[in-house]
Subunit: 470 residues, 2 copies
């Protein structure tokens, strides 16, 4: 059996401190150039040269103000603030690349599907089918308060809203316009044939969208759907919609169980569980030799910020650890939020208790994800072991210093992975992100994806044969 392919995304965000709190201090870090166009176009060229599948752009619409009950630590440590909108970055990067994909995070919580569907179709047109939408439901109270909500919706409600939001988008993308609606026939005086465009007539619990879609079909129609739901309800949302799913991983045994759970949920949705690419966050620190890489990691760690890490942790978990002694174990914080927030760590090592300082140290490089430091062979060994032992498909690679961490990976690790047959030498014949990442024979969603139901409805109108469903 051929070695299983490894998929690579660069994990980025239009901010300074993404997953490595404190590292902005490092003289090699150029992440503060996030607001310059050339930072992004140079990075996109680098990643395409390194045969990355996509750059994945995270986003949040609020500040991390749980720790110390204030945004001050986040500001001091540039912890995801200041931060820009990822959507406007894409077309410039598309203009300097041919094949790199773009995974863009947009929270559906603060959008209307009619407008967001058009924005994403625009990106898919401009990139010639290289766009993925990372669907998130926002988790920061600080965002909700500034965006017209008194507080966040209850967690599970957010996913109910999300299911309807996705369904509206799928109707706009897959049902409203036929493939051959745009005729551009001067003889008949017909640019678009109105008989091949239809209103979606959606009247749901949360959204009313009666009309037709404004955009003509883009290369992929539905952008590749990325998702990262972690809770049980979130996992089932991801299993329903995600074509790539990001999970938190600490150790391999727990990750194996999580991957199995997610693939079972995907199967439970009537989808082929092997058609979904599962990614974990991972940080690779590569150097010519293991010793050099370990030295580099230690040097990086000397820039770590406890405050920045706890600010990040506060935003993710809702838990303010500022009142706790940094060296006292956290197990006694006996609330639902605390248990859930600590779950990732106790899963990593159930026999151990975690203190605030240990949590912060853990998060300081690579957030909630493993860190691998070593020579090209060592890093490649580790990546292969993760993939082969856990059943994941690839990695969201975070940076310690940007773009240095990516440049090291491209120069050192990618050639090694290519030699081992894990990363293809070039991009395949299918030009869209979906063909590359999901392996579909066309740019469009698989028949077992929920968006395909609306494609079937469209095809049935035209009298076309529609695949039968199990």
């Amino acid at each position: 059996m051929a070695a299983k392919r490894i998929y690579l995304n660069a994990f980025e965000m239009a901010c300074v401190g993404h997953q490595a709190p404190g590292l902005w201090r490092h003289p090699d870090d150029r992440a503060w150039r996030y607001k310059d166009l050339s930072y992004w176009t140079d990075l996109a060229r680098l990643l395409e040269r390194g045969r990355f599948d996509a750059i994945f752009l995270a986003d949040v619409l609020g500040v991390y103000d749980v720790y110390e009950g204030s945004p001050d630590a986040a500001l001091r440590e540039a912890t995801q603030v200041p931060m820009l909108d990822p959507v406007p970055l894409v077309s410039a990067m598309a203009g300097v690349t041919e094949r790199l994909g773009f995974g863009v995070t947009v929270s559906l919580t603060y959008e209307q599907p009619y407008a967001l569907a058009r924005r994403l179709s625009t990106l898919d047109h401009l990139t010639d089918g290289r766009v993925a939408w990372n669907v998130v439901t926002s988790y920061l109270e600080s965002a909700a308060r500034n965006l017209g909500f008194d507080t966040q919706r209850a967690h599970d409600d957010r996913y109910d809203v999300g299911d309807e939001f996705m369904d509206v988008c799928y109707q706009l993308w897959e049902y409203s316009w036929d493939d051959d609606a745009v005729v551009r026939d001067p003889e008949r005086g017909l640019f678009t044939d109105p008989a091949k465009v239809r209103p979606i007539g959606h009247h749901g619990r949360y959204y009313d969208v009666p009309g037709l879609f404004l955009a003509e079909p883009s290369p992929q129609r539905t952008p590749v759907i990325f998702q990262a739901g972690a809770s049980p309800r979130g996992r089932s949302f991801a299993a329903r919609h995600g074509e790539a799913i990001f999970i938190n991983a600490v150790d391999r045994a727990a990750t194996r169980r999580l991957v199995d759970d997610i693939r079972a949920r995907i199967a439970g949705e009537g989808r082929d569980p092997e058609s979904v690419r599962i990614f974990i966050l991972l940080t690779a620190i590569a150097a010519e030799t293991d010793a050099q890489a370990r030295a580099k990691e230690e040097e990086y760690r000397s820039y770590a910020s406890l405050d920045g890490a706890l600010a990040l942790y506060g935003g993710w978990s809702g838990l303010d650890l500022s009142g706790h002694d940094p060296d006292t174990p956290l197990a006694y914080i006996d609330t639902d939020a605390a248990r859930s927030a600590l779950e990732i760590f106790t899963r990593a090592d159930p026999t151990r208790t975690w203190t605030p300082r240990e949590v912060a140290r853990y998060l300081t490089i690579g957030g909630i994800g493993p860190v691998v430091a070593g020579s090209p062979a060592t890093v490649a060994d580790e990546l292969e072991a993760w993939v082969d032992e856990t059943g994941i498909d690839g990695f969201n690679l975070a940076y310690v210093v940007a773009p240095g961490t990516f440049a090291d990976f491209v120069e050192l690790v990618v050639p090694e992975l290519q030699r081992r047959g894990r990363v293809p030498a070039g991009y395949g014949p299918g030009r869209t992100l979906r063909e590359n990442l999901v392996g579909t024979p066309t740019p469009h969603v698989r028949d077992d994806h929920p968006a395909a139901r609306h494609r079937d409805r469209r095809r049935a109108l035209a009298g076309e044969a529609v695949p039968s469903r199990a």
Copy 2:
């Protein structure tokens, strides 16, 4: 006295048929390539070579479905449908130009100020201060119905919401972050100094935005504000906020009166009326000789579409002319909407009655705006006469065929205007759009602009001197 400078914007939209219904049939028209990135990057390069001040990107979020009570005519004639979102186009164009400005239309009706302010700041960062926001309150019922409203807000209410929306944005852009908030000082462990960033604490009638802004100050902070309100309430909104204002013009005498009215309103807001650039829509058909240009215009007109024009008119006016005999005068349609919709035409010639066919013929090339066809000297003469006789500052130049109309203008007319000292040979030293267009000594809003109030509040906090207001 030196000849008054003439400002030039290219008037575009991410669609096929913008202001010339039917011209998609013309073999020279390439507007159907609007969904390809290279259409936009090539156009941006052309315009910068032609010393245009900006490309102005229109937008609507609905379809033109008033005519015949259906979107069919708009679809057949590609009348602003299919259409994409203009925001994602900008960064690619910015990547291939140095000085061209980008005026982007975003309706505030379907946005939250907290998110939109960040999106616009992102564009201002990525373009290095070359962005203008064309503020619109949406006018299409078809948009409202698909975006969470049962119907549109009442017209004047839309502007009340708009005033508060603008004020929230100004607070985020001008008040929340000090110029020197980002310190990036590894020694002090301070990326952003929290003492120099503050929540805006906005609790208004329509919006609650208590928090601090997510983006650090962009080169212009507040993007250049474009506005095009035409009604009395709309004009006073434009006079308050607009740094460039677009008006509909048919004849020069009426335009002179309108310009005087707008400048008086600007003065009434305590602003220097000459600091605001007033633009009219105009279509220039240029050729080597007058005869060639006239022949070109006639040839273009042979592609005109009555249906497409009446679809456009229906969307703008709310008036469905499909039930009316095309050759019967419209004066008898005695409703407020009809009177208001016809006002532009009766202003053009009060002694004449207009039939649907005449309205359509008028709109067919250049929408509601004059058409000038001639040699470079003739076109330049006409543009000079418009500027000198009406007090406007420049033109939103529409295309008949794209990009051909712009290419002709750049090749033929711009050199003539430059010879006459009306268009500068190159771009000035100030690199931002505001310095170029408004002529400010810095990239920031003038002291008499309403956004400056929040800058004053910020400066007062720092103990800086603040200009006194009349």
